[in-house]
């Protein structure tokens, strides 16, 4: 099947799902329901799109299909930030209560951390992918251990505030944040544009990319920082959600069977929207909020991950 047709079909599918989500089960209160649902959809499109695109970029840079940016420990760092804010300043403080302030702090810390990690990793000539995995894992474990330590000591009421942040959720999206996130992501996309053409070549590996005239270190640095910004924004908006990327990126490769990133990006964004809106439909209409979106995404993603591992073996 033609690649453009595939993308078109995926686009139609996501529009249909969005349509079902927006228009069914409204109960007549259109004025109340439409803006609320619209906001949720917008948040899902933003986070789904950024997670999908950054995972595809990350896997291209690392030449590895089973890695996601969560290996960098950004999810754990997010939890650490939230926990320490509650632990040190208390849940009543402006940094927790005011979502805008909280969002800004979270994004800033995560981006700075990624910058430092980048410095540590890629300044060395033999930037080794396994070294990156190891460091990311160690940082991730370190962050979650400290978070757990603080959570244990927290007052139960305060802990509830932290627990709110532990799972990705679209049920409580803040309108202002969606707009801020949208602007930040638009800036990120503009930043990303000049580097897009290099992605196909970078996928060939470092040696080939350099041979073909790509300023590899500079390109990878920018792509890496863009990933960090995207992931930080998505996480600060809805909570830890990078696991979605693994599922979406790999389904995209299987569906598209191409190396061309222009198609991969388009397809991954739509598949991401299908996963999120579909998942949210299940959560709201089938399970009536008895479960969370991340549980569903993680369950499906986890099963798929196992399948991938088993298949790579044979």
């Amino acid at each position: 099947m033609n690649l453009k047709w595939k993308v078109f079909i995926l686009a139609v599918l996501s529009l249909v799902l969005i349509g079902i989500y927006m228009l069914t089960n409204a109960g007549g209160n259109w004025d109340y329901i439409m803006p609320r649902r619209g906001m949720k959809i917008l948040a899902m499109v933003i986070t789904g799109g950024t997670i999908a695109v950054s995972t595809v970029i990350f896997q291209t840079i690392t030449n590895n299909r089973i890695l996601t940016p969560s290996i960098l420990g950004l999810d754990s760092l997010y939890m650490l930030i939230q926990t320490s804010l509650v632990f040190i300043i208390g849940s009543g403080s402006v940094m927790i209560m005011n979502r805008n302030v909280n969002f800004m702090i979270t994004v800033a810390v995560m981006v700075v951390f990624s910058g430092l990690l980048y410095k540590l990793l890629f300044k060395r000539e033999e930037s080794n992918i396994y070294f990156l995995l190891l460091l990311g894992l160690i940082f991730g474990t370190f962050f979650s251990s400290i978070s757990t330590f603080m959570q244990v000591l927290l007052d139960p009421n305060e802990f509830l505030r932290v627990q709110d942040k532990m799972f990705a959720s679209f049920n409580n999206i803040h309108t202002d944040l969606v707009w801020i996130g949208l602007i930040a992501i638009a800036l990120g996309v503009i930043w990303m544009l000049p580097y897009l053409k290099y992605l196909d070549v970078v996928a060939l590996g470092k040696d080939q990319a350099v041979n073909l005239g790509v300023d590899y270190d500079r390109v990878v640095k920018h792509l890496f920082l863009i990933i960090a910004v995207f992931i930080s924004i998505a996480t600060a908006l809805v909570g830890p959600i990078t696991f979605l990327g693994l599922l979406v990126a790999n389904v995209t490769y299987e569906v598209m069977k191409t190396y061309r990133h222009s198609y991969l990006f388009a397809a991954s964004i739509f598949i991401s929207i299908i996963a999120l809106v579909g998942g949210q439909l299940l959560v709201e209409r089938v399970f009536t909020f008895a479960t969370t979106l991340s549980v569903i995404v993680n369950f499906v993603g986890g099963v798929y991950f196992l399948y991938l591992l088993l298949r790579e073996r044979s």
């Binding site: 030449n63 590895n64 299909r65 000539e125 053409k197 196909d200 070549v201 996928a203 060939l204 590996g205 470092k206 040696d207 080939q208 350099v210 041979n211 073909l212 005239g213 790509v214 300023d215 590899y216 069977k257 191409t258 190396y259």
Partner: protein, 252 residues
């Protein structure tokens, strides 16, 4: 002409390439020979800017490799490393098209298509052009990569052990193609090679390295001699003249 002047490379504290100065002459095949760990591949990687040197200067036709823009250099010099393992699902034609990236930045023009087609024909891959890379044999894959380099259309072609994992037939085929590129198209080829008989039969110039230093530099006649080879490899190698080729017998 490729000129390296007093080039250094350190891996940690170990000097892998030490104060090396060489010249790779235009329009010739130059073979880099020497024992394992002599620094041949490292030197070639530095010439092709895959590695940065820790000292010294490398110029290609007066362009400083360290300062020149990557894209300009990509139209001048290409490199093929031994380990080419790509996880992407690519067809031969798609791979060869990548060779045009320095010119087209990913948007192929008619001119680019012509080069791609021609490179595929040159490497006799026309029947295989829509086959996926992972379905090819080692020899075919190597040919596909060389086709990409040909499509890149650079004056200088550097190859790091291109004969690795190839049987005699394919190895000879590869060397003949390189010879043809030099003789018919005026390309300059530099290869790192372990089989000294291939170096002896197909190259013009030989540079011998050992322990990070250049031991000898000269024509095939000058280097393929028992006493010189003994100095390089520390073993007795007899030279026989067979069909006008100097063949080294080292299977004592």
């Amino acid at each position: 002409m490729v000129v390296a002047k007093n080039v250094f490379k350190l891996f940690g504290k170990k000097k892998v390439v030490e104060d090396v100065s060489i010249t790779i002459q235009k329009g010739k095949i130059t073979s880099l020979i020497g024992p394992n760990g002599a620094g041949k591949s490292t030197l070639l990687s530095m010439v092709s800017r895959l590695l940065t040197s820790d000292g010294g200067e490398i110029t290609i036709d007066e362009l400083d490799v360290a300062k020149c823009r990557g894209n300009e250099l990509a139209k001048k010099v290409s490199i093929l490393k031994q380990a080419n393992h790509v996880t992407l699902k690519l067809t031969v034609k798609e791979l060869v098209s990548f060779g045009r990236f320095p010119y087209s930045q990913g948007k192929l023009t008619k001119e680019d298509d012509k080069h791609v087609e021609e490179a595929i024909r040159y490497m006799e891959l026309t029947d295989l052009q829509d086959t996926y890379l992972n379905e090819l044999s080692g020899g075919q894959k190597q040919r596909a990569y060389l086709a990409m380099v040909i499509a890149q259309d650079t004056d200088y072609i550097l190859l790091d052990e291109p004969l690795n994992n190839l049987d005699m037939k394919h190895a000879v085929q590869m060397m003949k193609v390189l010879r043809k590129l030099v003789d018919e198209r005026g390309k300059t080829v530099a290869i790192v090679i372990h089989d000294i008989n291939f170096a002896s039969c197909y190259s013009d110039q030989i540079i011998a390295m050992k322990d990070g230093k250049v031991v000898r530099e000269g024509t095939v006649q000058e280097i393929i001699q028992s006493n010189v080879l003994k100095e390089i490899y520390e073993m007795d190698i007899e030279i026989e003249n067979i069909c006008n080729n100097k063949i080294c017998v080292y299977y004592a």
